[in-house]
């Protein structure tokens, strides 16, 4: 175990003995490794062809150490966090199975098996061994989403696939390049199974070039500082993360903390809810997280793999207690995860298909948030919108050209939860991701779709001293016939949980508007957002009033996969409404002026200000937003009334 103060207390001789360099050189090399992975990512982002890499940033780069160090992941890029917790094991498991003794300069090894390497089959790990004077000293790695990897759903994003055979091509560890030349049989394996290969090929070539860049920069670093200093810096980088996490854990009161979270259902029917049970035991600077009691794996591809759960644990703890140090593999040194195989967050082949893994590990993260809420007190963080609500659609243009949209036109972006530091952002990706939002212009230039609305929903944010982010409402008009896979998997209960006395965010939902009911091009008007408009819609998912089909937390559950594939005519509109983010602190402590500003900006209505914040505001926020007036006396009376209604604990 690393002592909490070991690194800063080491004298120069002890530091040199441990890391084969002086402290300054180790820091320079650690920073240089971060520069290298960022540089690789910039190269891929600027030169990728497919929308999922170019517009979503659905990739990450890492550097790992050699086998004799047990593959420490010393550097990670500032990109998709969901890839970072899996990558250290992905590199180790891939190389150990392939055999490090079989590697040579000029190789690239790939693996995409969720059970060996985490994530889903589209997320191929590209691993480049780095040799210095014939000695294997490191690996540079890119995990990058490929637009398609075969399987029954074009582009893959679906929660309805029943096993690994429907899910897509599984690639066990194998060579993609040898002696810096493509291995044709490996390319053929991919390209005989995947769709949209005209995009995959240049993407893979771009990935390869950025591996070469990473290798070159590492070798330049070694030439300058020496191989021993480089190898020492790999350990130093992970030791700093381990020490930082240990120190953060030590600050939490010792104890046992428990929580439950879950996911609405799978893609067979809605007869089963899947539940995570989490018990955190914390003693001193160590923490154990036990997931015993978690539901068995789902019957369709909403499952996550065991390494995805490991990522969610790491991201949750980085968010809550240790956000300053890099998310290297050292983060996990003071953490033990206890998890049985065969749950929906540790699925096994061939029946435990893994694709929408983040839908199941989002609740893992939320369970950690819930479990530690009381222990953290003011440092607790509210929940986010909880589901990517991912939308995957395809069709054919009049000239016969196939098109696909993936993660562009659903409810993929939404709000976060509030913190002690302030109100939450309303438009980001979920906590485990760190990606871009595809530009509307890019979507509309490539897909026969028009993004009609992308706006915040009033009164959807969890109220609090600091307000949660507002739910996002997004309308997309499809110009051709299309088939859609829609996956809103967290609509039964609020995911944007309120903390430290804050309120939870509102529930989201998804609807389809058939052109026979509401034809936007003919009417030349957007579909309204008032509740009356939903009666003629087709609900996809949500807790809805069975008659009006508007959101009603006490209504009936509409099951997302009762139509596994939604077929629509030209000019149909999909509407996604995400969940709202959780608030932090009592809303009755929010300054009336901040509530008034929210009313002006239409995050909160006048009625919502009265109901949830106890703030009485007069005026017309829509037509005269700058002349709203706060009635301070009435506010004081209303807040006294609300405080009197609160349980004693508040």
């Amino acid at each position: 175990m690393t002592e909490a103060t070991a690194l800063k207390d080491l004298d120069d001789a002890a530091f040199e003995a441990r890391y084969a360099s002086d402290r300054f050189t180790a820091s320079v090399l650690s920073n240089r490794m971060r520069y290298i992975v960022q540089h690789m990512c910039t190269g891929l982002l600027n030169n990728a062809f497919s929308l999922i890499l170019r517009d979503w940033y659905d990739f990450a780069a890492t550097i790992s150490g050699p086998p004799e160090q047990n593959y420490p992941m010393a550097s990670v890029s500032n990109s998709l966090a969901m890839f970072l917790g899996t990558m250290s094991e992905a590199v180790r498991n891939t190389i150990e199975e392939y055999g490090p003794e079989n590697l040579r300069p000029g190789d690239v090894i790939i693996c995409n098996d969720p059970y060996r390497a985490g994530n889903h089959v589209n997320d191929i790990c590209f691993i480049r061994p780095v040799f210095h004077n014939d000695r294997l000293v490191s690996f540079v790695n890119l995990r990058a989403h490929q637009l398609d990897m075969g399987g029954v759903v074009p582009a893959g994003f679906s929660g309805t696939k029943r096993n690994v055979y429907e899910n897509g091509l599984v690639i066990a560890p194998m060579l993609l390049y040898r002696d810096n030349k493509p291995v044709k049989s490996s390319f053929n394996l991919i390209f005989d199974n995947a769709r949209f290969c005209e995009l995959l090929l240049p993407d893979i070539k771009t990935i390869y070039q950025n591996l070469l860049l990473g290798e070159q920069l590492i070798l330049e670093s070694i030439d300058r500082y020496g191989v021993d200093a480089y190898l020492g810096a790999l350990r130093y980088a992970t030791d700093t993360s381990a020490e930082s996490m240990s120190r953060a854990i030590a600050e939490i009161p010792d104890g046992v903390y428990e929580a439950e979270e879950g996911i609405d259902c799978d893609g067979i029917d809605d007869s089963i809810e899947y539940r995570i049970k989490l018990k955190i035991t914390k003693v001193g600077d160590r923490m154990e997280l036990d997931f015993s009691g978690t539901s068995p794996q789902a019957r369709t591809s909403i499952n996550a793999g065991i390494l995805d759960t490991k990522t969610a644990v790491g991201v949750a703890l980085k968010f809550l207690i240790d956000s300053e140090s890099p998310f290297t593999s050292g983060t996990y040194r003071p953490i033990d995860i206890v998890i049985p195989a065969g749950t929906f967050i540790s699925a096994t082949p061939p029946d435990g298909a893994v694709f929408l893994y983040w839908e199941s590990t989002g609740p893992v993260l939320l369970a950690v948030f819930r479990a530690l809420e009381k222990a953290l007190g003011r440092r607790a963080v509210g929940g986010d919108y909880g589901s990517l609500n991912i939308h995957n659609a395809n069709g054919v243009l009049p000239d016969g050209t196939p098109w696909v949209t993936t993660a562009q036109c659903g409810g993929e972006h939404g709000p976060w939860g509030a913190t002690e530091a302030g109100d939450a952002d309303s438009y980001s990706v979920m906590y485990q991701a760190n990606n871009l939002d595809p530009a509307t212009e890019a979507i509309e230039s490539e897909v026969p779709a028009v993004v009609l609305r992308k706006e915040y929903a009033i009164d959807s944010a969890g109220a609090g001293t600091n307000r949660g982010g507002a739910a996002v409402l997004k309308d997309t008009l499809y110009l051709t016939e299309a088939e859609h896979w829609s996956s809103p998997l967290h609509v039964k209960k609020a995911s944007g949980i309120g903390v430290y006395g804050g309120k939870s965010g509102a529930l989201g939902a998804t609807w389809v508007f058939d052109p026979d009911y509401y034809n936007v091009p003919q009417k030349k008007e957007l579909i309204p957002t008032s509740d009356e408009v939903y009666e003629g819609s087709t609900p996809v998912a949500g807790m809805l009033d069975p008659k009006t089909k508007a959101v009603d937390p006490n209504g009936e559950y509409f099951y997302f996969a009762r139509n596994p594939v939604w077929h629509t005519k030209p000019h149909a509109v999909f509407r996604y409404l995400t969940n709202g983010g959780g608030g932090w602190g009592s809303p009755l402590d929010r300054e009336p002026e901040r509530v008034c500003r929210d009313v002006r900006d239409e995050y909160v209505s006048i009625e919502g200000a009265y109901e949830h914040y106890g703030v009485v505001i007069k005026g017309d926020p829509h037509n005269d937003p700058e002349n709203l007036q706060i009635d301070y006396e009435a506010t004081e009376r209303r807040r006294a009334e609300l405080r009197a209604q609160q349980p004693a604990a508040n």
């Binding site: 250290s88 094991e89 180790r92 498991n93 150990e96 098996d113 059970y115 060996r116 690994v164 066990a172 992970t238 381990a242 879950g262 259902c265 029917d269 809605d270 007869s271 089963i272 809810e273 899947y274 539940r275 049970k277 035991t281 003693v283 001193g284 160590r286 923490m287 154990e288 036990d290 997931f291 015993s292 009691g293 978690t294 539901s295 068995p296 793999g305 065991i306 490991k310 593999s329 050292g330 983060t331 996990y332 040194r333 953490i335 033990d336 995860i337 206890v338 049985p340 195989a341 065969g342 749950t343 540790s346 096994t348 082949p349 061939p350 069975p546 009936e556 559950y557 509409f558 099951y559």
Partner: protein, 88 residues
């Protein structure tokens, strides 16, 4: 709409094996010296996932101190469909 009421199936648990005093002694543990007031019943053996992959640990449950921490199977409890395949 929801056709049927949903249920939550019974969960799966990681068993924590009991450890004997003799096993602890073999691991070099002197209970009186190292864990005063504890008995062998306070220790359990089970797999964990941490930095560096999977380990089979023998751990004092009250303090989370490991008295044994050995590398376990590469993929932990996961069994691949191809496990056991002999192509020779």
């Amino acid at each position: 709409m929801s056709a049927v009421g949903s249920t939550v199936p019974e969960g799966i648990t990681v068993p924590r094996e009991a450890v004997t005093e003799e096993e602890l002694a073999e691991l070099g543990v002197d209970l009186d010296r190292d864990f005063p007031g504890s008995t062998a019943a306070d220790f359990r053996r089970y797999p964990v996932l941490s930095e560096g992959g999977w380990y089979l640990v023998v751990k004092h449950q009250k303090t989370l101190r490991c008295v044994s921490r050995e590398p376990w199977r590469l993929l932990g409890p996961i069994e691949l469909t191809s496990d056991g395949l002999d192509v020779e």
